[in-house]
């Protein structure tokens, strides 16, 4: 048998006490130096596959594993932990939970110390990793003060210190903003091309990822397809709708431009156009700039008014600096910005969870400093990122009923049934909220905020960590809510999602300040500063690069075609 990086033969796996296989008859061969992307719907077994490759299954989880698993020629069932770690390094979904030590430097050498490397070797590898990942400014820092992106780099450094041949990352982009995601992907590409590491990335967000991949595997308990991303994207229609795969805008664009093969990045599309001397004529002279203007709301139409808002946390961090904004009644607003820009801090002022250090926030004319959270919550339904922070009742029905009763609404039973029906949750009414899928959990959290009919709905990063199909479902729900006349405010750094949402106003935050406010077209085509170019949807970057943005300003491929 030729030694391969990964050799999975007829793998079927059952978690302990489960009769349904999490993976069913998987055969997968990965050669050294490949860059593989594994995608597929939530609950399709992607994380289980990662655990098998990393040896966590069966060593930690138990359960029933049929078939053979070889990693770099090593039978994972019989191998000791040191042999596994030296071959395959894994960065799991939530880096914050993987950091064990208090100081970054201690974390970076943790595996090496456990595996009894010598002091000299550890010191040499520590310096190497610090230089490679640019961690010198963090080396003496405590780990509990790290941002999400920093925590991920520390975990990656800790894994790379052992010098594994294979690197496995489970949803590494889920909580990163676009620039941080781009940096990580560039680094993985460097490891793959320069250091010849085999890279396996499990991910939903494919827009910026696929251009680096040599293979795309779609997994839904079984392998649905396996091949070069171009082949998969050209051969399988509707993989987005069926398997929740995010087809990059560039690939959709290739059909419009008449290319035979799907294009995997905007840069590639531009190169091809240049090579083929291709130009696009629109027949449109100039889009009327008035159509992009955001109208100011009359006083009586203001849903949320923020005036000179400053928020300083107890540790002295100035999270918000002189924020001024108006959100009109019935408006669909997105607050965008990188990690740590102050998005969540801002929306926590909308229902009084945070009070201004300086300045004022009015919600439907009420000064939030003078009202309790419970009073403001009657007007503002808040949906936070993690639905698990809400659930504590036995079933979905009781969960939503609890909110209805807390808000003292009349005809609670009727309202709960109505909202369950509207959000397609009626068949799950008597299931435990912990047993349902991630998308369903998010819908339950939204239902809980909608049941008492608040005028304003605020969502914090609603698309973080969910697949494309669920994003489309979520968008549908939000649009329907918005059409009933409610004001929708959401924070996000998912620009591709934003390109499809009927957002009327975008507020761009950067390090606690508003740096731009306007319609999506104004923001993306005119006002977004150069250093935030990665926050533009792919299509906007393309249109701007070919100089068509004077004539037309599409946000998504449908608008571009039309």
């Amino acid at each position: 048998m030729t030694t391969r990086a990964i050799h999975l033969d007829n793998i079927t796996y059952f978690y302990p006490n489960s009769k349904e296989p999490a993976l069913d008859n998987i055969t997968l061969y990965v050669d050294y130096g490949e860059f593989i992307v594994i995608a597929g719907p939530s609950g399709g077994g992607k994380s289980t596959l990662c655990r098998i490759i990393a040896g966590l299954i069966p060593h930690l989880y138990g359960g029933k594993l049929n078939g053979k698993v070889y990693i770099d020629g090593l039978d994972i069932n019989a191998a000791d932990i040191k042999s596994i770690i030296e071959r395959v390094g894994i960065v799991l979904q939530n880096p914050e939970n993987q950091i064990v030590n208090i100081v970054v430097e201690e974390e970076l050498v943790f595996s090496l110390e456990n595996l009894l490397y010598t002091r000299t070797e550890i010191t040499a590898r520590l310096e190497e990793v610090i230089e490679k990942l640019g961690l010198s400014h963090l080396r003496s820092r405590t780990t509990y003060g790290l941002s999400g992106g920093e925590a991920q780099r520390v975990v990656l450094g800790s894994v790379l210190a052992v010098k594994p041949k294979i690197l496995l990352l489970d949803e590494p982009l889920a909580h990163l903003d676009p620039p941080a995601a781009r940096n990580l992907l560039e680094f993985l590409n460097y490891l793959n091309k320069v250091e010849d590491k085999t890279i396996i990335v499990v991910e939903h967000r494919l827009s910026e990822l696929l251009k680096y991949a040599s293979r795309l595997v779609i997994l839904n308990k079984r392998i649905i397809c396996d091949g070069h991303p171009r082949r998969i994207l050209s051969e399988f229609n509707d993989i987005d709708a069926i398997y929740g795969i995010e087809v990059p805008t560039s690939a959709r664009l290739s059909k419009v431009l008449g290319f035979k093969q799907p294009i995997l990045s905007i840069e590639e599309a531009l190169d091809l156009m240049k090579t083929k001397n291709l130009t696009i004529k629109t027949g449109i002279t100039n889009e009327d700039p008035r159509t992009h203007k955001v109208s100011n709301c009359e006083d009586k139409d203001v849903a949320i008014s923020v005036q000179g808002l400053w928020h300083v946390y107890e540790n002295g961090v100035e999270a918000l600096k002189n924020i001024n904004l108006d959100i009109c009644k019935g408006e669909f607003v997105a607050i965008v910005g990188g990690n740590g820009s102050g998005k969540t801090t801002l929306i926590k002022h909308f229902n009084g969870l945070l009070k201004p250090t300086k300045g004022k926030v009015y919600v439907l004319g009420k000064n939030t400093s003078q009202y309790s959270v419970a009073e403001l919550a009657k007007h503002v339904g808040m949906v936070f990122q993690n639905p698990l922070h809400y659930f504590f009742r036995d079933n979905v029905y009781d969960e939503i009923m609890f909110t209805a009763k807390s808000m003292n609404i009349r005809n609670a039973e009727e309202k709960v049934t109505e909202i369950l029906e509207r959000l397609g949750l009626l068949n799950l009414a008597y299931r435990s909220p912990y047993e349902i899928s991630a998308g369903e959990q998010r819908r339950v959290a939204i239902a809980s905020a909608l049941v008492y009919n608040p005028a304003i709905i605020v969502l914090d990063e609603p698309t973080a960590g969910i697949d494309f199909k669920l994003k489309l479902e979520l968008l549908d729900i939000l649009v329907n809510i918005w059409k009933t006349g409610r004001t929708i405010v959401m924070t996000t750094h998912d620009m591709e999602f934003l390109a499809y949402a009927p957002v009327q106003k975008i507020i761009v935050l950067d390090r606690g300040r508003i740096i731009a406010t306007g319609s999506p077209k104004t923001i993306f085509y005119e006002d977004l500063p150069e250093n935030m170019a990665m926050f533009m949807p792919q299509l906007v970057r393309f249109v701007k690069s070919i100089g068509l943005d004077k004539n037309l300003k599409p946000l998504n491929i449908q608008e571009f075609i039309s």
């Binding site: 390094g89 064990v100 030590n101 208090i102 100081v103 050498v109 010598t118 509990y144 959270v373 808040m382």
Partner: protein, 263 residues
């Protein structure tokens, strides 16, 4: 001060802080020696003057690091209520049970309090400039297995995260109209389930992730492990111990020379 604020103040004075400080450069052994020497000196000193001098010396030494005085104040602020309660309790019980003079009892309690306060600076220096891993390294030299001690590091690392998560859950529940700070005890107990249950679920997920993280880092691979940092003793350590020794001996000499009761 609300109970949440109390724990925040106390907690922030007790965490390890990464910054440029002489105390971070000192060996853990030096810091332990400092605590032991201060404890012995405080125990042997039974008069006001030497104890006040000892307290002043320790505060003075801690001021080498600019952040320490603030930490000491925060710590004392956090503990002030407890200290006052213990003080009162001791005074009342000693006076009622014993046959001593009330003034004597109060003066004895004041002496005991100053003794405790004198040990606070070296303890805070130790806690805020020593990582739990360094403590483990030190103890494992005494023959204790490192994996038996690691839960201490894990608790230290995850307690702030769990507090943060609790705060987020609390915010999520308040956003749906739950008022945990109002109503009677039964209402509060009922309401607390809305925080406790999600907390348990999220902590269970965290524990699973942690178990995975430990395994894929080779934790417990062998009974022993390497510690990449050595417990070296530098000139700075010698100088510091020398200073502590001189000043503490001075305090003891004053104690022996002082013949007046309490002074």
């Amino acid at each position: 001060m609300s109970s949440r604020r109390f724990f925040e103040v106390l907690g922030s004075s007790l965490v390890y802080e990464s910054r440029e400080s002489i105390f971070i450069k000192l060996s853990i052994v030096t810091k332990i020696v400092y605590i032991i020497l201060t404890s012995i000196t405080a125990f042997l000193s039974d008069k006001f003057l030497p104890l006040i001098i000892l307290l002043s010396i320790n505060i003075g030494l801690s001021m080498i690091d600019r952040a320490m005085p603030k930490k000491i104040v925060m710590m004392l602020k956090g503990l002030s209520l407890f200290i006052a309660m213990i003080f009162l309790f001791n005074v009342i019980t000693t006076f009622l049970l014993g046959e001593t003079d009330l003034i004597d009892v109060i003066l004895h309690q004041v002496l005991a309090t100053i003794r405790i306060l004198a040990v606070v600076p070296p303890l805070l220096i130790f806690i805020s400039s020593t990582t739990p891993l360094q403590i483990i390294q030190f103890i494992s030299r005494l023959g204790v297995r490192y994996d038996r001690l690691y839960p201490f590091v894990i608790a230290y690392r995850f307690i702030p995260l769990i507090f943060q998560e609790m705060k987020n859950i609390y915010d999520a529940q308040r956003s749906r109209g739950v008022e945990l700070e109002q109503g009677g005890i039964i209402n509060k107990l009922k309401g607390s389930a809305s925080v406790v249950v999600p907390m348990i679920v999220c902590s269970t997920i965290r524990a699973r992730d942690l178990a995975e993280a430990l395994m894929i880092r080779g934790f417990g691979y062998k009974e022993k492990r390497t510690f990449y940092r050595t417990l070296t003793f530098t000139r700075l350590d010698i100088l510091f111990i020398f200073m502590v020794l001189i000043t503490h001996v001075f305090v003891l000499v004053i104690t022996r020379l002082s013949y007046i009761n309490f002074l």
